[in-house]
C-alpha cells in the first residue's frame, strides 16, 4: 500500500518552462540570417539558337527600330545621333504608330526594337539603354491600362482575374531583339572566349 502511494506521487514530467527560451534563441538566429530581399531586374527572353538551314525572316525596314550604342556610350537611333533621354519617346512613337507614319511601324505586334552595342561598351550603358527601351513599352502599357479605366498597368495586372488573358500585354508585347555585335571588333576582355 505504501509502495503504491509513493509511485503515484512521483510524477515524470519534463520541465517545459525553458522551451520558450530555446525557441526564442532559434528564432533570433533565423531572424538574423534571413535575407528576404527578392532579386529585381530587367526580365528578357533570349531568342532560340539559329539553325543553319533556316533563313532569318525578312522584316520590312519600317517595322524595325535600330538602336546602336558604341564604346563611348553614344547612341545611334535609326542611324541618327540621339540623346539617351530621347530613346523612350522615340520607342513610344515607333511602336504606337499603327501605320500612320510610313517610316514608323505598321502595328505594335509587328514592331521590333533591335538593340545592339559594341563589344567594348560597358554594361552600365547597356542596361541604361535597354531600360529606356523597356520603359517606352511600359509607358505604352500604362497608357493602355488607363484607357481601360485602371490606374496603371500594375493595377490592371492585380485586378486581372486568374486565367484571363492580359489584353494590355497582348496589345503592346515586348519585342526587343538583342543583336549580336559585329565580329569585326575582337573582344579585348581576355576572357578566353
Amino acid at each position: 500500500m505504501g509502495l503504491l502511494k509513493r509511485r503515484t506521487s512521483r510524477e515524470a514530467e519534463i520541465p517545459t518552462s525553458s522551451l520558450a527560451d530555446i525557441a526564442f534563441l532559434l528564432l533570433i538566429f533565423f531572424l538574423v540570417t534571413t535575407t528576404i530581399d527578392v532579386d529585381t531586374g530587367i526580365y528578357m527572353e533570349l531568342p532560340p539558337p539559329l539553325e543553319d538551314e533556316v533563313e532569318p525572316p525578312e522584316i520590312p525596314d519600317r517595322n524595325i527600330l535600330t538602336v546602336l550604342v558604341n564604346a563611348a556610350g553614344n547612341v545611334l537611333l535609326e542611324g541618327e545621333f540621339t540623346e539617351i533621354s530621347q530613346i523612350r519617346p522615340s520607342v513610344k512613337r515607333f511602336v504606337s504608330n499603327r501605320g500612320a507614319d510610313p517610316t514608323l511601324s505598321d502595328s505594335p505586334d509587328k514592331a521590333i526594337v533591335s538593340f545592339k552595342t559594341e563589344r567594348q561598351s560597358t554594361y552600365a550603358q547597356y542596361v541604361k539603354v535597354l531600360d529606356e527601351i523597356k520603359m517606352g513599352f511600359n509607358e505604352l502599357r500604362a497608357e493602355e491600362s488607363r484607357r481601360l479605366g485602371y490606374r496603371d498597368y500594375d493595377d490592371y495586372k492585380t485586378r486581372l482575374p486568374e486565367g484571363e488573358e492580359d489584353v494590355v500585354a497582348d496589345t503592346y508585347p515586348y519585342r526587343i531583339s538583342i543583336a549580336e555585335p559585329d565580329a569585326t571588333n575582337p573582344s579585348a576582355d581576355g576572357s578566353g572566349s
Binding site: 520558450a20 547597356y126 581576355g190 572566349s193
Partner: protein
C-alpha cells in the same frame, strides 16, 4: 475600507497565460526557417549592379540560377580581367557554360538565369555568355539591377 480593497485585488489573477507562448514562437520560427536562404555564394568577381527603372521582381526564388560576370578579385582592392562565376567557382572556359546550363534546364525546365554583371564590365563577354545560354536553351534571363532611386 482599505482592507476590503486589498482583499478584492488579491483575488483577481493578474498573470498573462504563457502556456501558448512556445507555440507562437515556434510558428514564427518555422516561418523564418522556411523563408531563409542560408547559403550565399562566395563571390570571386566584383559585381556592382547598375540601376534601372523598368524592373520586375522574381517571385520564384527556387527557379533562379545566378551567373556572375565581373573583374576577378585579386589581393587587396585590385581587380583583374573579366571572368564568369557560376555557383562557387570561376568558369575556366566560356564554352563550358552550355553544358552546365543544359543540365540545369533538364532538372528544372522553368529555370531563369539571373545575370549579375558588374557595371564596368564590357558587353563583349556578356554576349558570349548569352550565346552559350541560347545554345543551352535557357532562354529566360534577367539582368539583375538595383531599383533606381529617384533623384
Amino acid at each position: 475600507m482599505s482592507v476590503r480593497f486589498k482583499k478584492k485585488s488579491a483575488k483577481t489573477k493578474q498573470d498573462i497565460p504563457t502556456a501558448s507562448l512556445p507555440d507562437i514562437v515556434f510558428m514564427l520560427l518555422i516561418f523564418f526557417m522556411v523563408s531563409t536562404v542560408l547559403r550565399e555564394v562566395d563571390l570571386q568577381v566584383r559585381v556592382i549592379l547598375p540601376d534601372a527603372e523598368a524592373i520586375q521582381k522574381i517571385e520564384q526564388k527556387r527557379l533562379v540560377s545566378y551567373v556572375y560576370i565581373g573583374p576577378e578579385k585579386l589581393e587587396g582592392t585590385r581587380v583583374g580581367d573579366n571572368r564568369v562565376q557560376i555557383d562557387d567557382a570561376l568558369v575556366p572556359e566560356i564554352s563550358e557554360i552550355r553544358q552546365l546550363m543544359y543540365r540545369r534546364l533538364q532538372d528544372e525546365p522553368r529555370t531563369i538565369i539571373s545575370l549579375r554583371v558588374d557595371e564596368e564590365s564590357e558587353t563583349g563577354i556578356l554576349y558570349d555568355v548569352q550565346q552559350e545560354l541560347r545554345e543551352a536553351g535557357t532562354l529566360r534571363i534577367n539582368y539583375s539591377t538595383k531599383r533606381l532611386t529617384p533623384s
